[in-house]
Structure formats: structure tokens, C-alpha cells
């Protein structure tokens, strides 16, 4: 048995989904797009039932991917029962979607979620609603688990005898004519296809002309003109008005408003957090606090994991970590290269993956807290006019800001963007934001090469990255990532206190996804780096005689153009694995700080930092990019744009600097 969950955004649909399936769920993408697909199972009376959470939509038109996914799923997979999750405190608009669903399937269970909130606004007559609609109606409060058992009962035993959504007679007549025609060519549900054809639905029209049903299209055109003439308005408005009057009528039949005085808490909070002068400072404060929480609370856990795997040096004495111990143990019974591969390749890669875990978990704890509480929608409202300039909606500011901490969770956070094109644009821009690890390297190099102006140098790099992101954003949004100008209609839902369950499920999903998918790629890359650095046989790890060293020698002429030394190139290779390693590698190659200082002019050092600011992000970030988009071409694009921008910027810095005679 298959059950599909449908509903508007912000109706607590995923809470219902979590309550039904518990932890028996997994998250993936819908084929070909980055829209999230959640699937799970529930067991009722010993029967295993598959539950699919369809994307949240306001209607079922052909204008957005989410809506097309939802309706195609219903038509093609024919779920046995559709659970329509409704925000009971916002009944009228939610019922609009029901009018569209009823055209697709009669087997609908209405879940009136947030019934407690609704009771403060209306008296809702659930029995009358049941009778009028002829469908099972279950009042529920999903976050407290109320009504879940009743919902399960109705899914199995519900009686479906729905009332049809009637359009005005002039339209009904024409729907009849058209649906008879459509029945003949074998499309089901015929009434839905007839209505959509009348409505000029791009997808359905394409499908019909693909089937060669020219006469249907002609007939539809003719009928459509009739309707538009009769009602004196365009077809979409006419149909939407009819549906809304159904929803409106039903709403007033079953709900009587209670007059409540006073302003809601939501209104009070919004009055301040979107305030003309205080709104942005409050936003900055909240973001900064979230940021501190994530990275400072994660720090001890990351240190502990790092110590566990790698051990550490105390006053020149090395304390062994897991890798050292296991390497020593394995060398006793297997060839050295194999022990080294397993430990310095695989295990080190695994260690790197697990080190990310605390940050990812805490970040998604905060992020889902911000999202579930409703503040994220206000961020979108506040920042929209700034972010619009670089082709993103207001929420696009969040991944960009998170990028300063770590690009991996930042790219995972692009899911908060609802539009596919914007999400890709946001992912493409994110690697140009220097993460904490890169900033650490810059701070270190600045102190070596510019001891008097280190802060200024660091600050100039951050500004440079922001300028580049801004310019690229403008460029990309006008060229490669030009969306079909999706309208930005944003709902500002009431503030709610997020539930621990919802937040922790979200946190778990993200971490699990990262571990399983991105983790594999990172470990794979660790092995490749190990091979490149240890072969051919007998060379010192990562030295100039290794493959990495040879590759660096090949690239040296290119490096000269931007002032990079071969050693710097080798360190950048290792930086591909994890940026913070760059310093270690420079130390290994040069021996001490003085030698590092002597190896480059200040201008070369600055050019080196600019190059590192933009060139390909670390492997974990790339793995995440792939994991989020599932698109190898896009991944190559991200790598390519990085090198292109890095090379161009470093070239400009190096040559303009040389011409002006600065820092030679």
C-alpha cells in the first residue's frame, strides 16, 4: 500500500510524516532535480505501508518543479490514499489545494493539523466538514502526537465518497465535452486532463501534442475562448475564482470565527525583527550567535576526534593516535605499503570525515531551529532587496554567511532555497567564500609575511572574496543561472516553538546523508592523494620525487605566471584534501619559518593567498556539491570556475603588483 502526503508549506507536513514513520525513513532527491524526496514506512495492523512526503505546494500548476513533481507522482504512482495535511488555522487557503486534489483522486484523508491553534481562531465543525466533503477528516496536533492513531485508522478503513468541485455551469458543460474526448484517447483521470487542458497548462498541452491529439487541442482552444468571452476574464482567473469560491463557501460553512482581541505574539515579534533600523542589527546578532554556537561548541568534539585519530605532539614527543597504533600493529603482519594505505589513506580520510560531523550536526540543529521557528522566512523578507541583486532570494544570505565557517554545511544549507536555479547559483558561489580553515591559513601566512599589517592583509582577502562573490553573482544570475523569473511569493508563517523531535530528525538525516555519501567520496580522494604522494616506490611521502612533486613540476611554468613556487603548488595539492594542511606541508618542505619567509617575496605570498582563496574547494566541499546536485557536469563547473577565478585574480594581483613595484 502506498500513501502520499500532500499539503501547503508550513502546515507541519513533515511533523506528520515523522509521526507516521518515526525513524523508518530516508531522504534522497527526486530524479534529475535537487528537490528533496522523503520516503518511509509505517506498520499498521501488521501491514507495511510505504509513505512518501511530496514537496509542499500551494497548488498543482505546471509553473514550479515542486508542483509538477507532486501531481505527476499522484498520476503515475497512483497512491492508494492521499493524506492532505491542512493547517487548520488557515483553512480557507489550504482548502484551495483540496479542490485541485479532488480532481486527481477521490481517496483523500484530510489531516487538520495544528487544531489547537485553530481552536483559538474558529469553532470548526469537523462532523459537518466530513459530511459536506464525503471524506475522512481527522483533527490533529502532530507535534504532540494527537490524532496520529485516528489518521492511521482512516488511512486503512476510511470511506471515500467525495463531493465534486463544481464549476459554474457554463464551464462544467465544456469540461464534460472535453473530458469525453480525452477519455477516447485513454488519458486518466480524464476530468483532470480536461480541466488542465482548458487552463492552458503547459505540461499537459505538451503531453497532448506529443500524443498527436490535435483535435483535442483545437477543441480545447475553442472552448477556452468561449469561457473567456462569457466571463470576461482570462481562463486562469476564472478557474481559480471558482475553486476559491468552493473553498470560501466550505470554510464559512464549517468554521465560525471567534473574535479575539489583542495582538498576536507573532505580530509583536515581527514589529521589531523587521523594524526599519533595528531589523538588520537583530539579524546580524542572531546570525553571529548561531555561528558562535556552532563552531565554538563543535571545537572540543573536533579536537577530541582529531586527537583520537591522529594523536599529537607534546614538547617534541608524539602521543600515538588510532592511526599510529593501528599502523604499527598492521605493519607486523602485512606489507608496509598496504598498512600505510589502510592507515594513512583510508583511516585518515575517515578521520577527516568524522571531524566534520560535530559542525554539521550543530549547524543543522540551529538551522532547523531557525527554519521551524519561522525566523528564516523573516530573514528572506529582510534581506531580499540586497540578495536580489545577485540573483538570490533573501534566504540566500544564510549559506553565504555559513560559508565563512565551513563550506560543507553551507552547501548543504542551500536546501533552504526553494528555487532550483537559485540553489545551483548559491552552490556555485559558495566555494568562493573562504571557510574557517582557509582563514586560519591566511592568518598564519599573513603573520609570517606581513607581521605589521597581518590584520589588514586578512581583511583585504575577506573583502576581495565578498567583492568576487558579488560580481560573480551578478554575472551568473544574468547569464548561466538565469531563472525563469520565478515569482517570489513568500509566506510569513506564525512563530512556533520547534519540537526537539523534528529538529533532531532533521539533524540526523543531514549527518547520515553526509557520512554515507560525501564520506565515501572523501575517503576515496584520501586514497588517491595517498597514492600520488607515495608513488613511485621508495620516495619520501609528498616530496618532489613523488607523483605529486612531478605534477607540480609540470605545472611550474603556469605557476610562474602567478608567482607560485613549485613547493607552493605541492602545498596547494594537499590543500585540496584539507586547506589547513597547507601550512604543515610548507613546513615539511621548507623546514622552518625563516625558510618559508625566504622562499617568496611578499607579493608572491599575497598572490599565493589570493590563489588559495579561490581555487578549487576542498574535497569534502566537492563531495557535498556532488551529493546535493548529483550532477557531474556541475561539479566540474565548480572546479573549473575556481581555477579560472583563482588564476585570473592571482595573475592580476601578481602583475599589477610587479608593475607598481609593490612587495617585490
Amino acid at each position: 500500500m502506498l500513501v502520499a502526503l500532500v499539503g501547503n508549506p508550513n502546515t507541519g507536513k513533515s511533523t506528520v510524516f515523522n509521526a507516521l514513520t518515526g525513524m523508518r525513513q530516508h531522504v534522497g532527491n527526486w530524479p534529475g532535480v535537487t528537490v528533496e524526496k522523503k520516503e518511509g514506512t509505517m506498520v499498521v495492523d501488521g501491514k507495511v505501508i510505504r509513505v512518501v512526503d511530496l514537496p509542499g505546494t500551494y497548488s498543482l500548476t505546471a509553473y514550479s518543479i515542486e508542483e509538477v513533481i507532486a501531481r505527476n507522482f499522484i498520476i503515475e504512482e497512483k497512491p492508494d490514499v492521499i493524506v492532505h495535511v491542512i493547517d487548520a488555522s488557515n483553512l480557507e487557503r489550504n482548502l484551495y489545494l483540496l479542490t485541485e486534489l479532488l480532481e486527481l483522486s477521490p481517496r483523500i484523508v484530510l489531516a487538520l493539523n495544528m487544531f489547537d491553534e485553530a481552536k483559538k481562531r474558529y469553532r470548526i465543525d469537523v462532523n459537518k466538514m466530513r459530511d459536506l466533503l464525503g471524506l475522512p477528516v481527522v483533527p490533529m496536533v502532530a507535534i504532540r502526537g494527537e490524532g496520529i492513531d485516528e489518521l492511521k485508522y482512516e488511512i486503512i478503513h476510511g470511506k471515500f465518497n467525495p463531493r465534486r468541485v463544481e464549476y459554474p455551469e457554463d464551464i462544467e458543460k465544456r469540461i464534460e465535452i472535453l473530458s469525453d474526448k480525452i477519455k477516447q484517447i485513454g488519458l486518466e483521470p480524464a476530468r483532470w486532463y480536461a480541466i488542465k487542458t482548458l487552463e492552458n497548462d503547459a505540461d499537459v498541452l505538451k503531453k497532448l501534442s506529443g500524443m498527436g491529439a490535435k483535435d483535442v487541442l483545437h477543441l480545447a482552444e475553442h472552448l477556452r475562448h468561449d469561457i473567456e468571452d462569457i466571463f470576461g476574464d482570462d481562463i486562469e482567473s476564472v478557474m481559480a475564482s471558482s475553486r476559491y469560491s468552493f473553498a470560501h463557501g466550505l470554510f464559512h460553512e464549517v468554521a465560525a470565527p471567534i473574535n479575539v482581541g489583542g495582538t498576536t505574539i507573532t505580530d509583536m515579534i515581527d514589529h521589531v525583527v523587521t523594524h526599519k533600523y533595528l531589523g538588520i542589527p537583530i539579524f546580524i546578532a542572531i546570525m553571529y550567535m548561531s555561528f558562535q554556537f556552532v563552531f565554538l561548541v563543535a571545537a572540543p568534539f573536533q579536537d577530541a576526534i582529531d586527537f583520537f585519530f591522529n594523536g599529537k605532539d607534546v614538547n617534541g614527543v608524539h602521543i600515538n593516535g588510532l592511526i599510529d597504533l593501528s599502523y604499527a600493529w598492521m605493519s607486523t603482519f602485512m606489507p608496509d605499503w598496504l598498512a600505510s594505505l589502510i592507515n594513512h589513506g583510508v583511516l585518515r580520510g575517515l578521520g577527516a570525515v568524522i571531524t566534520f560531523l560535530p559542525v554539521i550536526m550543530l549547524l543543522f540543529l540551529i538551522l532547523s531551529f531557525l527554519e521551524d521557528s519561522g525566523y528564516l522566512a523573516r530573514v528572506a523578507f529582510l534581506m531580499d532587496s540586497i540578495m536580489k541583486k545577485i540573483g538570490l532570494e533573501g534566504r540566500g544570505v544564510i549559506p553565504l554567511m555559513l560559508g565563512f565557517g565551513c563550506n560543507v554545511p553551507a552547501i548543504m544549507a542551500t536546501r533552504t532555497l526553494k528555487d532550483e536555479t537559485e540553489r545551483k547559483l548559491s552552490i556555485a558561489l559558495n566555494p568562493f567564500i573562504p571557510c574557517g580553515a582557509r582563514i586560519q591559513v591566511f592568518a598564519f601566512l599573513s603573520y609570517i609575511f606581513f607581521p605589521d599589517n597581518a590584520a589588514l592583509v586578512l581583511w583585504s582577502l575577506l573583502m576581495l572574496s565578498i567583492v568576487v562573490v558579488f560580481l560573480l553573482g551578478i554575472l551568473y544570475s544574468k547569464t548561466l543561472f538565469r531563472g525563469e523569473s520565478q515569482p517570489f511569493v513568500l509566506e510569513l508563517p506564525p512563530y512556533r516553538i520547534p519540537t526537539l523531535k523534528g529538529v533532531s530528525i532533521h539533524m540526523w538525516e543531514k549527518s547520515e546523508g553526509f557520512l554515507k555519501k560525501a564520506g565515501t567520496i572523501i575517503v576515496g580522494a584520501a586514497i588517491i592523494i595517498w597514492i600520488l604522494a607515495s608513488l613511485p616506490w621508495g620516495v619520501e611521502y609528498g616530496s618532489e620525487e613523488s607523483y605529486i612533486g612531478m605534477l607540480a613540476a609540470v605545472l611550474a611554468p603556469l605557476g610562474v605566471l602567478v608567482g607560485l613556487t613549485p613547493e607552493a603548488i605541492i602545498s596547494l595539492f594537499f590543500g585540496f584534501f584539507a586547506k589547513e594542511v597547507v601550512i604543515d606541508v610548507l613546513y615539511v618542505l621548507y623546514g622552518n619559518k625563516g625558510a618559508i619567509l625566504a622562499s617568496m617575496t611578499p607579493l608572491q605570498a599575497y598572490s599565493f593567498m589570493v590563489f588559495m582563496l579561490f581555487y578549487t574547494p576542498c574535497v569534502a566541499t566537492l563531495a557535498t556539491v556532488y551529493n546535493e546536485t548529483r550532477n557531474i557536469k556541475f561539479l566540474l563547473f565548480v572546479i573549473g570556475e575556481g581555477f579560472l577565478v583563482a588564476f585570473t585574480m592571482a595573475f592580476l594581483v601578481y602583475h599589477i603588483g610587479s608593475l607598481m613595484g609593490v612587495g617585490i
Binding site: 497548488s59 509553473y63 475564482s241 464559512h252
Partner: protein
């Protein structure tokens, strides 16, 4: 006038939707239809987008999108100062509510005189003087 021309705190009734395609359809599915009452809630710090209340929920629209909505400005009875004479243009509610209001002489097209401002307000209709509470006064619209 266009929805984007209204200021925070003002009310309007939708007359027509311009535009085509995605924007048009999205506005429709959010319930912005001819006859719908819209309240302008507040503008964001940079003036764009603007928050609106429709049918009891809140949405934000960019200026550009709001300019696709043709509206007529209306005033809720609750905001009318005492002493004014106004004409009722819309009553927002179900059949029962409209019937109840009708029995007090408050119907679309009727003229009422406000004897005392909100709230509770006192109005003179063709059928006598009536006290009206805040909740109701903000569901009757006049021009």
C-alpha cells in the same frame, strides 16, 4: 491603483490581476483574486518587499509582483472617525454574518453615520443605532 502603491496600515480590495504565466498563477493560488481584501502590514527595512495580510495569513510580495495587482483602496469601518458618513462597500464573512449585519441595516451599498469611533463604536443606520465591537468593525469596509 496598484497594490504596490499602498502604504502600511491601508486596506484594499482586489479589482484585477495583470500579468501572465507563473506570477499570475502564483498570485491566484495564494488567494489573491478579484474581490479579496488585502491589508498592507509592513515594509521591510529597504522598502521592498512588503508584507500583506490576505484571508488571515501573511505573505510578502516584491514591489514588482505587487504591481501586477490592481486594487481599490477601502477603509475598515473601525478606522472611521466619529461624525463621518460613509458608504459600505464590502462585508467580509460568511452568509450568516452578512445576514446578521443586514438585520442591523448594515449591508453593501447602505450609508451609515459613525456616532462614536472605535471601539466599541456606535453607528446610526437606517434601522437604528447599534454598538459594534472591534472584531466586527474591522470586517466591514467602507469608502
Amino acid at each position: 491603483m496598484k497594490l504596490s502603491e499602498l502604504r502600511p496600515g491601508e486596506y484594499a480590495i482586489v479589482k484585477d490581476l495583470l500579468g501572465k504565466g507563473a506570477i499570475h498563477q502564483r498570485l491566484l493560488s495564494m488567494g489573491i483574486l478579484p474581490g479579496t481584501v488585502i491589508r498592507v502590514v509592513r515594509a521591510s527595512p529597504f522598502g521592498d518587499p512588503v508584507e500583506y495580510e490576505i484571508r488571515g495569513f501573511f505573505i510578502s510580495l516584491r514591489k514588482q509582483e505587487a504591481s501586477y495587482v490592481e486594487v481599490d483602496k477601502i477603509v475598515p469601518l473601525g478606522m472611521v472617525p466619529s461624525g463621518s458618513v460613509v458608504r459600505i462597500v464590502l462585508i467580509d464573512g460568511g452568509v450568516g454574518f452578512i445576514r446578521n449585519m443586514g438585520s442591523m441595516g448594515i449591508g453593501v451599498g447602505e450609508t451609515v453615520r459613525v456616532l462614536r469611533g472605535c471601539c466599541p463604536m456606535l453607528v446610526q443606520t437606517s434601522k437604528g443605532k447599534f454598538n459594534i465591537g472591534r472584531g466586527i468593525a474591522y470586517r466591514i469596509f467602507v469608502r
